[in-house]
Symmetry: C2
Subunit: 250 residues, 2 copies
């Protein structure tokens, strides 16, 4: 597959004029401030003072670029990917509102992967230096940031399981259930949603070819487990989907 070339567009637009504030963001329960007290979240507002827009297809950051901030997705949808010298990509994750991007950059001071917007998105920039210093004053921020990183480690453990031991249909079932659950947490329907990524991107994430993804979708539809119309998905039989997923028994 070919990786899209960077588009000739101005750098991400700074929209910080629209003052950002964690304290009145409706994502505060699932984003970085999760679990912090009202007063503590007030302090967080010092931290996040830039909000940028990233247009569909553009990268928030790219592998090899200097790391200096982590990013909270205010709205939109992203894929993270590593690209080999020869241009093949492995999608390492999909991220949605309230989730944190860029933590891979702390290790070596530069990003390890690309984060590409799959739809027009808004991003809260959290300068890493500020995060570190504010973590001093706010133990709960420190703790929660550790949790966020740890959760990423656990998530990746799950993906390794997926790629290492599961079969194609089990992987796709796991993927759909995960997506459904995360959308549900955000107040969207757990059974009906639009995919933001192509079959090829799903395949890259799940370690299978786009044709195999397509065939698995068709199979699920034939078996009346889901209804698929292009990017639109309706889960008809959640239990059935769970059974396929759990069936990485034998």
């Amino acid at each position: 597959m070919k990786i899209e070339t960077p588009r000739l567009r101005p750098a991400p637009v700074d929209v910080s004029a629209l003052k950002t504030a964690c304290s009145d963001c409706n994502l505060r329960e699932i984003c970085l401030p999760a679990g912090m007290s009202h007063d503590e979240i007030g302090r967080l507002d010092e931290l996040v003072y830039t909000r940028i827009k990233v247009r569909r297809g553009d990268a928030l950051y790219r592998a090899g670029t200097t790391f200096n901030a982590i990013y909270a997705i205010r709205s939109g949808f992203f894929k993270s990917r590593v690209v080999t010298q020869d241009g093949r990509e492995q999608v390492t994750g999909f991220s949605m509102a309230g989730e944190i991007l860029g933590m891979d950059g702390i290790a070596h001071g530069e990003h390890n992967c690309d984060a590409v917007a799959l739809e027009d998105s808004e991003i809260c920039t959290i300068p890493y230096a500020n995060l570190e210093s504010l973590s001093h004053d706010l133990p709960s921020l420190q703790h929660h940031f550790h949790k966020v990183m740890s959760r990423e480690i656990v998530r990746e453990n799950g993906v390794m399981m997926l790629l290492g031991v599961m079969r194609a249909e089990e992987r796709l079932a796991a993927f759909l259930l995960n997506l459904s659950q995360r959308l549900n947490v955000r107040g969207y329907s757990a059974v009906e949603f639009n995919l933001r990524m192509t079959r090829e991107e799903i395949g890259s994430y799940l370690g299978m070819k786009l044709e195999t993804v397509s065939r698995a979708f068709s199979k699920f539809q034939t078996d009346q487990i889901i209804e698929v119309d292009q990017k639109h998905i309706r889960i008809v039989d959640v239990a059935g989907l769970r059974k396929i997923y759990a069936h990485h028994s034998q």
Copy 2:
């Protein structure tokens, strides 16, 4: 495959009487204290006051058990694994001296995987509460701990790449090169070493069956790239190995 049942052995032995001290540990350059000043490392000694032994085959911790500390490997060798309900395992990593285990537990307060010793090992226990509070006084500890977690995220990105896009022989080449490099950092030969894990464990890590691992080893031997005698490996042609690895080009 069958997971070994826990052995009837006493809990890990506390050998803290042999006072542990980061400041005169020869692993301090590659372990948690890496990059910290002499004075700072002195303060670290408060942190690590228990050293335990874990015997080969025993678990340092298991998935589901309460998280309250992270662990630095003082000596020995570990595998981390997630196990499914039905008893199949996915090895998520191999860890050696100077590396940190247990960070997966921060996310939900309990461990997400098992850490099993593949040889008799010694472990420095770092109570997480202490780490958090000492991170206050020592910004460089905080920073370095973030780095360690981020590095784990980056490592797992690499494994996803491995499992997602590479072929069997490329995976094994990547595995051997990685092992070689890490042993080398620790002062061991980069070209001659003993594997601590079985073919099945390698296979689980690399997402392939033990027979396929064995065949790939035999192939490498026939091609004069390595010499294999059971667990003993000698890399004869590093360049050749790199070429196989890099050849996830086409």
